[in-house]
Symmetry: C2
Subunit: 384 residues, 2 copies
């Protein structure tokens, strides 16, 4: 049905009306006092969201662009880096470090499993002459719905003392607790079309003092992605290059909404949506890709048996106008992914589960009691 | 007056209502057939706008980001490049080539004067062993309102045979004739918040066969700005990284408007606005920074005498809600710049000139006959 689309993918995520309308305003000049006020407000609110006093810089870029900036600003050719790779995005950061001629060591886990913090501990402890300059981690692996144990891995990085921790929080920030200062995270990258509840186009990167120290001697070439330029201009409430002004209007509106909801409530909502989605999927007798202890609050990957994942997605879209994500790379056709990140409510999860039940009926899939999915989700909502 | 802002700066430029409203729609998934259709349409229309059969790629980036991509994808460390520098943007591209360790030779002209094509001819003819790998030129120098003689400089590059021509057309594309194929321009970069009539956030780069040939052996590191990735995905009507979907809605709407107006009419309108603005400013006895023969169709820089440029801007803003641009770097405080680029009509120029007259009266400036500016602009409009 025209104009009835409902996004349940891990990005872009749904956007509130007030954010859409803010974005539809006529642009203002970016070298104006009015823009400076917006820049000051959103920067302060980004620090709140990141739970940090560090700089939080705003780039016109996708999540990949801002994560690349988070890597290349602090390293030099040949630097040794550990990159955690247990999904499409972890592997992407290893491709980035390869592309820049870094000495990349991948620490891998099977897609759908979390990274093993012990492997990081062993590699870091073995590095007695402190050659490892950075550890690059994807917090929430969007491709599989697995959340890695950033807190433990980071503790090993801190014990090493020299290496920076550089984290992709693209689908964890604004969904679960990422206390940048309390954990001492050096570089934290994220993107607007996720927990931020605004359309894609803006990237964010929080940079701490230790990373800025590394920046002074880092020699990888960069200009547009040179974070020093953004830092210098952010201090004057401006940007080095023309910012996407209308997305700033959206960001301003969305951050105000997030502040009104409160960090604890936002995290609790995402964990409730996660629990309800998983309970429902299990009640429908469909296997989950990720185990409970590593389930991302942003996305749930389902590995249906006896019914085709792509067929489910197709009926969900055609019949109910609900967009689910498919699998990526070798998981293509094997899983579907339900996004419950950002501007998603309990009602949305009930809707998606109800439609999923109807879809399974339509496909003649009989491995579960009809209604069991909605009942399981409702039970979670009743108790949370 | 609240909500009465009128932008007469060289970017962001005014945005039509239908473009703003297109942008305010709920995002769709970027891995969907619906997005593929938009991608196909805007790519075809971008080729029309560029008058080319070459690839025209779309990046989430400001003009600087896309121009950097246009440079670094086709060169290797130590490559010799000629960079034309006669304003802030020309100088910026030399900073980019410096940042990437290229062997940069600047060909300079005073700010407000055009680059001298003869200097390019001499340097290129002297390069008998073909060490010059690229010539980087800013077509319309936004900081001064000077348009460089791209056609002639490019002819010298073609005579050289080996060097690529890489052009910043950020404030010329969609304002004046840039026939990419007819001139054989290898790399042409532009940004959304200019002639395109949409807010900032998208960058465009047209890449020809000779540049793609150079790409194969080019060794400067890149990932997010790697144009090969964009080309590969554009062939499938998609993008390698999450695109700013709402800006694509805007782009789709704006390109349809441009097609309805027609290239010839768009160029004629900009040249008419330029002529009217310059005639009016001269009738108000204020010196123009650029000479007639190198005046950019996007922007007119005025160097007022006997009255302060920043005071003029301040009164224009406070009293009439019209934003003019100031001078940059050493021209700060010495000039103001009137943008007449993108969604700007004859009426807008009349409005700006009338307000400028009123501003000069308010400031007690007496060097001209009140009404002469509007009369001169009207005369241009009557005869074009």
């Amino acid at each position: 049905m025209d104009d009835k689309l409902m996004l349940m993918i891990p990005g872009p995520t749904p956007v509130p009306e007030q954010v859409l309308l803010a974005m539809a305003k006529h642009p203002i000049g970016h070298r104006s006092a009015d823009f400076g006020k917006i820049m000051a407000e959103v920067t302060a609110n980004l620090k709140w969201l990141h739970q940090t006093q560090n700089d939080v810089l705003i780039l016109t870029a996708s999540g990949t662009g801002v994560m690349e900036a988070g890597i290349i600003n602090f390293l030099s050719p040949g630097d040794r880096v550990l990159v955690g790779s247990n999904g499409k995005f972890g592997e992407r950061w290893a491709e980035v470090t390869d592309a820049y001629g870094l000495n990349t060591e991948r620490i891998t886990a099977e897609w759908g499993k979390p990274l093993d913090p012990e492997q990081f501990r062993l590699a870091l402890e073995a590095d007695v002459d402190k050659q490892i300059k950075a550890v690059v981690i994807t917090h929430s692996e969007t491709s599989t719905g697995v959340i890695n144990d950033l807190e433990t891995i980071n503790r090993h990085v801190k014990a090493h003392g020299k290496a920076l921790i550089i984290v992709d929080t693209v689908t964890s920030l604004g969904a679960t607790n990422v206390p940048v200062d309390a954990w001492g995270l050096d570089v934290v990258a994220s993107g607007s079309q996720k927990g931020y509840m605004i359309p894609p186009g803006l990237g964010f990167v929080a940079v701490g003092a230790k990373a800025w120290e590394a920046y002074k001697t880092a020699k990888l070439p960069r200009y547009y992605l040179d974070l020093g330029k953004y830092r210098k201009d952010a201090a004057k409430n401006t940007t080095p290059f023309t910012p996407p002004i209308n997305l700033f209007f959206a960001l301003q509106a969305a951050l105000r909404m997030m502040q009104a909801e409160g960090l604890e409530a936002i995290f609790a909502r995402h964990h409730r949506l996660l629990a309800a989605t998983r309970a429902a999927v299990q009640a429908m007798a469909m296997p989950l890709l990720a185990a409970d202890e590593c389930a991302s609050p942003a996305i749930t990957a389902v590995m249906p048996s006896g019914v085709d994942a792509e067929q489910i997605r197709s009926v969900m879209k055609k019949r109910f106008d609900i967009v689910l994500a498919g699998g990526q790379d070798h998981l293509k056709g094997k899983i579907f992914r339900i996004g419950h990140l950002g501007f998603v409510s309990d009602r949305d999860v009930l809707t998606a589960i109800a439609a999923l039940e109807a879809t399974l009926q339509e496909l003649g899939h009989e491995g579960f009691t009809s209604g069991a999915g909605v009942a399981a989700a409702a039970k979670v909502f009743a108790s949370h």
